[in-house]
Structure formats: structure tokens, C-alpha cells
């Protein structure tokens, strides 16, 4: 169950609930950080944090749903699990619209809580992986010269070397050299690889 480097951030105003849930999650091998209100969480927040949020809806000051919105606005994509004393449809809808992983009613069901955390961590992991691979591709693309980039775009568009040469006003031989260098820099073995890469990076 333990996922390295991921933390459950509990934001709950009730000290006993915070302690008890923190203890339980700790015993299940999760790293836990606890906050008494949304404001103190926001103050402490670092962008490199990863894991998931376990939020109480009813809190003095900023409530859990407002915190969820605020996190989305500042670009934090950490998945959130929302807890509430009495689950009304409106809050549930709002929570799920803001991409909540689950909406749990108090008293919490242990199995559901652990499942929700596992799912949240999985989501966080996927997020992290895609953002990691995107970062790699972006880095490789940045290494291309403007000419190589032009050649890549035309290759991805399905043009033959001869067409590309005419289009760019260079010899076919030069196109071949640019193409080979470009494929090498991107680490693409063939055109299919290249297309996949360019799609992943959102270049077209």
C-alpha cells in the first residue's frame, strides 16, 4: 500500500478527528501531514508536494470546497478526497466537478477511505508520469534547430523528402541530413515514433 514520496494532507478543524484519522493512516503506512484549517495549509503549501488532500467540508473560515477551488486556481493538481458530516447533493456535485476522487460521509468507512487514498495516489502517479514524459519531450524538442523543427513538422504531416526540399527551397540531400539529426536528437527510431512523440508534446 505504501507509495514512496506521497503524503496524505489532512485538512480538518476538529482536533480529535484529525488525530484519529492521522493515526489510522499512519498505521497503514501513509505519510501524513495535518492542518487545522485551509488557511494554514495554503500558507505551508509547496508546489513540489505530491500525494492527496483529505478535506473536511465544514470548517471555520475557508471550507473544503473553497480550498479545492483555490488549489485548482494556483495550479495544484493534487487529487482531493472530500469528507462531510451530512452528504448533501450540492456539495457532492461541487466536489466532483472540482475533480474530487471521492466524497466520503462521516463517520468514515475505513475500507472506503483507504481505497479512495489508493485511487488518489494512482491518479497522482499518472499525473506525475505524464508530466514527467512531457517534460522530457519538451527538453528534447528544445534541442532542435529551427530548420530541424520545420523538417519535423513536415515529416509528421506525412510529406516526402522531395516535397519537403521543394517547400523549404533546399536540396533533398540537406533534408535527409536535417531529418537524420532531428530523429537522433529526439531519440525516435522511425516516423511512427516521431508522430507519437509530437502528439505527446502537443506540437503539430
Amino acid at each position: 500500500m505504501q507509495t514512496s514520496g506521497l503524503t496524505v494532507y489532512i485538512v480538518e478543524d476538529d482536533q480529535s478527528v484529525r488525530d484519529a484519522v492521522g493515526l489510522l493512516l499512519g498505521l497503514h503506512g501513509h505519510a501524513v501531514a495535518m492542518f487545522a484549517d485551509a488557511e494554514s495549509f495554503l500558507q505551508a503549501y509547496r508546489p513540489e508536494w505530491s500525494g492527496c488532500l483529505l478535506l473536511d467540508i465544514r470548517m471555520p473560515g475557508m471550507n473544503g470546497l473553497e480550498l479545492q477551488e483555490r488549489m485548482a486556481r494556483i495550479g495544484c493538481r493534487m487529487p482531493a478526497i472530500v469528507m462531510t458530516g451530512h452528504g448533501d447533493v450540492d456539495s457532492a456535485r461541487q466536489a466532483f466537478r472540482a475533480q474530487a476522487v471521492d466524497f466520503l460521509e462521516k463517520p468514515l468507512d475505513q475500507a472506503r477511505l483507504l481505497d479512495a487514498i489508493a485511487e488518489a495516489f494512482q491518479r497522482q502517479d499518472t499525473l506525475r508520469r505524464t508530466s514527467e514524459s512531457r517534460a522530457t519531450i519538451d527538453k528534447r524538442l528544445a534541442a532542435l534547430t529551427p530548420r530541424e523543427l520545420e523538417v519535423m513538422e513536415l515529416v509528421v504531416a506525412g510529406r516526402h523528402n522531395r516535397d519537403i526540399a521543394t517547400e523549404l527551397g533546399i536540396s533533398v540531400r540537406t533534408v535527409e541530413v536535417h531529418k537524420a539529426r532531428m530523429m537522433d536528437k529526439l531519440g525516435a527510431a522511425n516516423v511512427a515514433d516521431l508522430v507519437r512523440l509530437s502528439l505527446g508534446a502537443g506540437v503539430s
Binding site: 480529535s16 488525530d19 484519529a20 498505521l27 471555520p60
Partner: protein
């Protein structure tokens, strides 16, 4: 002096579904015949041409009430009653066939009036609102005019009324019937209805009833004693008692006052031998006074009903909020309990029986106590159920609340002083108001706990605010409230301690408002809570 909550909101009146639905019992028929003849006999004054053309004729009111209650089946009984009255009271002034025809004609007229009233007021709620009252009065006025015209013309054609006297006869008959019905019918109507009879009884057994009687007697003396020598210029004095009764007791008050005034007028007319033409004028005035009183009474009833409904709505809203607060308050300890329980299980699975397990178990005990505390406090509030009003001595109430904190004051080294309490009486639910005061005092004790022992002071005061309001002030020398804290103070979900200060204040406020008062905190360098409540003698109608 209290209006005793005379109207249940939205009472659906028991009424026949159609103007011919319930079969009259022999009791009602006998009541009609005997009552009709008796009223006719009592009101047979200043007859015109020895006929039943008198300036006061309340008997048809009885006929109308029974027609409305039992419908067309009552018609033969009314004909019989009229015949008996003609024979017994007046010795049959006209020939029997004419009398029979006239009786049938009058009965037809009353039946028509009853049918029209029933058509426009199908639920039979004649005296429930202004519209009903207006339709009733207009129908009675128009219907009796029509009946009078036909009746008098028929008698004139038979030669019992001179042709040139038709106008005067119609006027007298109309005023007699119209005023008689307008003044007496509401009273008879209410007497035939169990619920309304209770309302009437409430007015009569009210301690203020003797004052009504005295005022009515006084007004009658002004109108007929002083007024007789001044051509009844002071008749308007009679408006005062009916206005008073109507504004205090609504329609039942107005109905009783109108009946008493009418009775007084008849006594005066008989004892003073007042001229027929004057009696006619007096009857018109009596009808106007009665209508005025009924309209005031109905408006008072309507206002009362609206305020009861509003109060009910507010109470439901408060109950909804309380339920939400209760769910939150109970869920927190339960959530902690179940999490601690799961944690203990986990620890035992691992064979870890060290301090972590002990802490978790202690946490469970603590949380169970907390849940029990929430329940105990809620039980305090709900124990009394609905608000039951009784007169409460303010000083006793405050003493009881202060005494219950004496032991805690000693233990926590808090000086609790009670200021001079004005000798006032409240009308309220003693248990609930004590709960509010205890809650405020408990908050004050928590607030002064921050200060060192010996410097903890709480003061309980009460001031007569005038306008039948008393303001109870609970002051402590704790930190007090700033604007920000004040804003969320009465919100059940914004508790500053685990036992939920906000919930207690919210319920206290709901109780206070159900008593027609208000509860608020003031900003300052120390804690100030103020509780304003109406004292006995103001109009307060919580039920």
C-alpha cells in the same frame, strides 16, 4: 393582560359540503322553533300595524344559521316557527292563508340569502377574513331589502298595510331584519360551533371581561342616560367598548360586545319608551357599530393567524438548522471514535500494545464522553418539546440560573454577582428560558477561565427597557468579541471549542425568538451578551 391565542392557524371549519347535506336532528329543529319564537317575542316592540314589522328582528339570524348548517331541510321548520310566532306572539293579525303565504315568502327570502352566502363562501368560512365578512354583510343587506320589499308589498296588496305607508314599512322591516341579522348572526353562528363556542367562553371567562361589562354599561349610560336629553348625540361612546373588545380578542370579542350592546340598547329602548322612529335610527347605528367591530375583529384574527404561521415557519427553519448542527456535532466524535477503533485493531494485529494503543483507547473514551455531552445538551433543549407559556417571575428565573452556577463559581474561583432585578413578570417557558440563561452563564465561565483565579468576574443584570421589554445582560471580564468573531458567533458550525459554543447560542437564539425576544452579543473588551424578552402585558402569542 394577555390575548389567549384564540385562533389556531388555518383551521378548516366543519361545514356542510352543500346547502342540503346534514340532516337536522330534532334538537336543532326544536331549538329553531323555540328560539325563533322567543326571539320574535322579545323583539316585538314598536310593531307597525300590529304586524311583525319591528325595528329589531333578530329571529331570522337563527333561521339563517340553521339553514347554512342544515340546508334546505330546515325550510319547513322555519315556516312552522314563523306561523307559531304569528299566532302566539301577535294573535294572528292577518288571515291564516295570508299569514301562511307570508311565512313561506319570508322563508324563501332567508333561503335565498343562505344560498347566496353559501355559493360565494363554499367552505362556510363566513367570518374567517374580510372578504367573507364583506360578502356576508352585503348579501344580508341586499337580501333583507329584497325580502322586505316583497313582504310589505304583499301585505299592502292584501290590505294590511296602507298603500301610502309602504315606504316607511319597507324601511322599518328592512332595518329590523337587516340589523337583527347583522348584529346577532355571528354570535349564533359561533354558538353552534364547538370550537368557536370555546373561543367565546375564553372571552367570557377572561379576567378582562368584567372590565368590558363595566365599559359597555358606562358607554350605554353615556349614550342613553346623558344622551337621552341630547337627542342621543353621545351614541358614539358605544364604539369604544367594541373597538377595545375586537382589538383584544378578535372576532369573538367583537361578537360578544355587539350582543351586549344590542341587549343594552333594547333594555334602554323598553325602559325609556323611546319613540319608534328614534329606535329605527338607533338600530341603524347599532348595526354600524357591530359591523365596525366585526371588521376590526376579523383583521385582528387575520393578523394573528399570519403571525402564528410565520412563527411556525421560523420554528421549522430553526429546527432544520438544529438538525444540521446536531448531525455535525455528533458526527465529529463518531468519526474520531471509528477511526481510533480501526487504528486499535491495526495495532493489535501487529501485536503493538505500547503507548500508541493506550493513547488511541484514551481517545476513544474521550470521544464517547464528548458525544454524550452533545446529547445531554441537546436533550436539555428538546426536553420541553413545544414552548409552553406561563407567567414567570423575572427575579426567580435569574436566581434559579445563578444558583445553579454557585458551586461551579466556587470551584473555578469565579465571582458571580447578580444586580438588582426589576420586579417584572415574563410570559414564557420556564425550562427553556432557564436553559438560555444557563447557556449564557456557561459561556461566560468558559470565557473568564483565561484569567487568573481571583480576577474572574461575571455579572448578571436586568433592566426594564420600557415598552414592556426587559433586557437581561450577562457580562464577563473575559476577552470579549471582536467584529470578526461576532459575525460567526451564532452559527452552529463555528464552534470555538469542541462542545460547540455556536450550537448552544444558536439554539438559545431560536428559543429566544420563539418567545418574541432577541439575543445578541456586543463587541467590547469584555464579554457582553444581551437577552431581550417581552414582559407580561405585551402582545405575545407563542403557542
Amino acid at each position: 393582560m394577555q390575548r389567549q391565542n384564540p385562533s389556531i392557524p388555518h383551521r378548516t371549519e366543519r361545514k356542510p359540503a352543500m346547502l342540503s347535506s346534514t340532516r337536522p336532528g330534532w334538537r336543532d329543529i326544536a331549538l329553531l322553533v323555540v328560539g325563533y319564537v322567543a326571539l320574535d317575542w322579545a323583539s316585538f316592540i314598536h310593531p307597525l300595524h300590529g304586524l311583525n314589522i319591528t325595528p329589531w328582528n333578530p329571529a331570522p339570524a337563527l333561521g339563517l344559521v340553521l339553514l347554512l348548517r342544515h340546508g334546505t331541510r330546515m325550510v319547513p321548520a322555519i315556516v312552522v316557527a314563523i306561523l307559531i310566532a304569528e299566532i302566539w306572539v301577535r294573535g294572528l293579525p292577518a288571515a291564516l292563508p295570508v299569514t301562511l303565504a307570508v311565512a313561506a315568502l319570508l322563508t324563501g327570502g332567508y333561503w335565498l340569502i343562505a344560498t347566496v352566502i353559501y355559493k360565494y363562501l363554499p367552505e362556510g368560512v363566513i367570518f374567517a377574513d374580510r372578504r367573507g365578512l364583506f360578502i356576508w354583510a352585503a348579501t344580508v343587506a341586499a337580501g333583507t331589502l329584497l325580502t322586505s320589499g316583497i313582504f310589505v308589498v304583499a301585505l299592502a296588496l292584501s290590505g294590511y298595510v296602507p298603500m301610502d305607508g309602504i315606504g316607511g314599512a319597507v324601511l322599518q322591516f328592512w332595518v329590523g331584519d337587516g340589523a337583527g341579522v347583522l348584529v346577532s348572526m355571528p354570535l349564533l353562528w359561533m354558538l353552534f360551533d364547538d370550537y368557536r363556542r370555546r373561543q367565546l367562553r375564553q372571552v367570557v371567562f377572561h379576567p378582562g371581561f368584567l372590565a368590558y361589562l363595566a365599559l359597555i354599561a358606562g358607554a350605554l349610560w353615556i349614550a342613553f342616560g346623558l344622551g337621552a336629553s341630547a337627542a342621543f348625540k353621545y351614541f358614539y361612546a358605544l364604539f369604544i367598548p367594541i373597538a377595545w373588545a375586537a382589538s383584544r380578542h378578535g372576532l369573538p370579542g367583537a361578537v360578544i360586545a355587539a350582543a351586549l350592546i344590542q341587549f343594552g340598547i333594547i333594555l334602554a329602548v323598553k325602559s325609556q319608551g323611546i319613540a319608534a322612529i328614534t329606535v329605527l335610527e338607533i338600530q341603524i347605528l347599532a348595526a354600524v357599530i357591530a359591523l365596525f367591530g366585526f371588521f376590526v375583529g376579523v383583521v385582528v384574527d387575520e393578523k394573528q393567524r399570519v403571525s402564528n404561521e410565520l412563527r411556525q415557519t421560523l420554528r421549522l427553519a430553526a429546527a432544520g438548522e438544529m438538525a444540521g448542527a446536531l448531525a455535525h456535532e455528533m458526527n465529529q466524535p463518531l468519526t474520531a471514535l471509528s477511526a481510533y477503533g480501526s487504528a486499535c485493531e491495526q495495532l493489535l494485529d501487529r501485536g503493538d500494545t505500547g503507548p500508541t494503543l493506550r493513547d488511541a483507547l484514551r481517545g476513544m473514551t474521550r470521544e464517547s464522553h464528548r458525544a454524550a455531552e452533545v446529547l445531554r445538551r441537546l436533550r436539555d433543549f428538546f426536553r420541553t418539546g413545544s414552548t409552553r407559556l406561563e407567567p414567570i417571575d423575572l427575579a426567580e428565573l435569574i436566581d434559579a440560573a445563578a444558583t445553579s452556577f454557585a458551586a461551579r463559581g466556587k470551584r473555578d474561583a469565579v465571582t458571580l454577582s447578580v444586580g438588582p432585578i426589576p420586579p417584572l413578570r415574563l410570559l414564557g417557558d420556564r425550562l427553556q428560558l432557564e436553559v438560555v440563561l444557563r447557556n449564557l452563564l456557561s459561556n461566560a465561565f468558559d470565557a473568564v477561565a483565561e484569567r487568573p483565579p481571583g480576577e474572574r468576574r461575571i455579572r448578571l443584570d436586568a433592566h426594564d427597557e420600557g415598552g414592556a421589554q426587559v433586557c437581561i445582560v450577562v457580562e464577563d471580564n473575559g476577552a470579549g468579541c471582536d467584529e470578526a468573531r461576532l459575525a460567526g458567533l451564532f452559527d452552529g458550525f463555528r464552534s470555538t471549542k469542541s462542545s460547540g459554543l455556536g450550537l448552544g447560542l444558536m439554539i438559545s437564539r431560536a428559543i429566544t425568538e420563539a418567545h418574541g425576544g432577541s439575543l445578541w452579543a456586543e463587541t467590547g473588551d469584555h464579554g457582553i451578551f444581551k437577552l431581550s424578552l417581552p414582559t407580561e402585558g405585551t402582545s405575545l402569542h407563542a403557542d
